[in-house]
Amino acid sequence: MANLLQQLNAEMSGVIESGWRSLVRVGNGEGAGAGTIWHKDGLIITNAHVAAKRVYRGWGRRTSGASQELKVTLADGRDFMAKVLAFDEENDLAALAIEANDLPTIEVGNSWVVRPGQWVLALGHPWGVHGAATSGIVIGKGTSLPEMPPGRDWIALSLHLRPGHSGGPLLDADGKLIGINTMITGPDVGFAIPVDTVKSFLRQALGARSGEVV
């Protein structure tokens, strides 16, 4: 008879395993980030800063528009070249298309029901480690969070996001997608773009019905 903690462990593994199916790797020729399968016929969501083209001009690295050489690697190991369907640097979101069908997806949730204190799980490839998981709780959400420029909606997270988590899915205890991992302001504090923002981004970029899950 498993005790409660063992049961918790088993259930967390369950959420992770179902989340893994929709986690992809997005290589931009230089580095790699993560991505999330949104639609079974090849629609993939990632961060604009993952899908951006890197150029070197003078000192340092800049980004300039979407990269034309994005490679998406699925959980089963298949590689695809991706076409950029929509690219929004302001919201840090990009929609990619790959020529694949019947991809495994996870259920898309709603971020307006997210409450501070609830359990969350983030998946990605931190420092290049494939499919790593980190879990924690929601600190808060909204447009006026400490350390963040006001005006954009964020979910603040108490977990360990690292470079390589960007673009990966943020899941709730039901395994539903509630956000896209995007940035950190400290070792213990991460930020995700709420899934509702992703929906409106897709609606705007790809047409009225594309944000809906079919």
């Binding site: 808060g140 400290g186 504090v189």
Partner: protein
Amino acid sequence: MSDVLKQVSDEMAQMVETAGQSVVRVEARRRLPASGVVWSADGLIVTSHHVVERDENITIGLPNGQSASATLVGRDPNTDIAVLRVKDAQLTAPNWAGTDDLRVGHLVLALGRPGQFVQATLGVVSSLGGDISEDAEAVEDVLIMRGFPSFEIPDVPPMPPGGFPMPPMARRSLERAQERAQRAQERAKGRGERRGRRWSQGGSFAGRFEQFVQTDVAMYPGFSGGPLVDAAGQIRGINSSALMRGISLAIPTPVVRRVVETLQSHGRMRQGYLGIGAQPARLTPALAEQFKQETGLLLVSVEPDSPADKGGLLLGDVIIAVDGVMVRTLEELLALLSGNRVGAEVPVLVVRGGQSQELLVTIGERK
């Protein structure tokens, strides 16, 4: 599929919502607002001392979105606690609980309200304790703040059997300790000035407190002054990120209660004062056997006309116990003096010339 996980997640979110009804925003510094907790529904708010940078023009943000102005009742830098009072505000008092049944490993949440909405982070109790000597620098700060000479605690050779007159080795050790103490005091003076420029209170944050709860909750900006909440939604203490660098410490509810009560009646904490500089020294095997303790406090300075001087304490005395409580380290003595003991006449057990004797000392007040 995920019954337990879903339930845990929902319960945590519900708890944040419920306990969050007693968490307020405290606007009393230039930067980001901090957090506070309702102590009682009649208007008392507990927060962190270091986030209350001004004594006037303090605003409290209530859970219902309204604001209320508050006055400062008092502050205690040692425990990093300040008490505020708001008038005519609808407040919900939380369930304050002691920390006796809290155990290392228990899940706890830190709550805060730096903005309009309540926020939360999760962690476990890392340690419960009364000795904050893990961090040498922090300990040094603690000593400096109380005006005690500060130095690395050296290996002092054991007191020779027979006691005084002191053999050369012990005398040299005493002299060295005095020199170190003097140098440390000079260093401390410089440090105090630097501090004064940096923080408006001009004092150090690092406090002296005999009890704390250490957790691994992330202290998100503006969380100082907010509550540490247990799995039952009870408030176990006040979080502060300023008591020790890089470590989340909470001042337990019983200490908060004592501070609130003292501040309410006196407006400030009264810190006991003896007027001595001391360092731990190992006792001889015979004395250690007699008193059942390894070390005592060797007096390396006694200020003239201080309570210790008036009580007859002399340079070179080794304090064994104060008011019947064994003192082995400076921390233990400081803890004794911080417990609102000003004006009390207490017996001090010392070893002088190899003989133990008891002196009566009236504890003064540190000004």
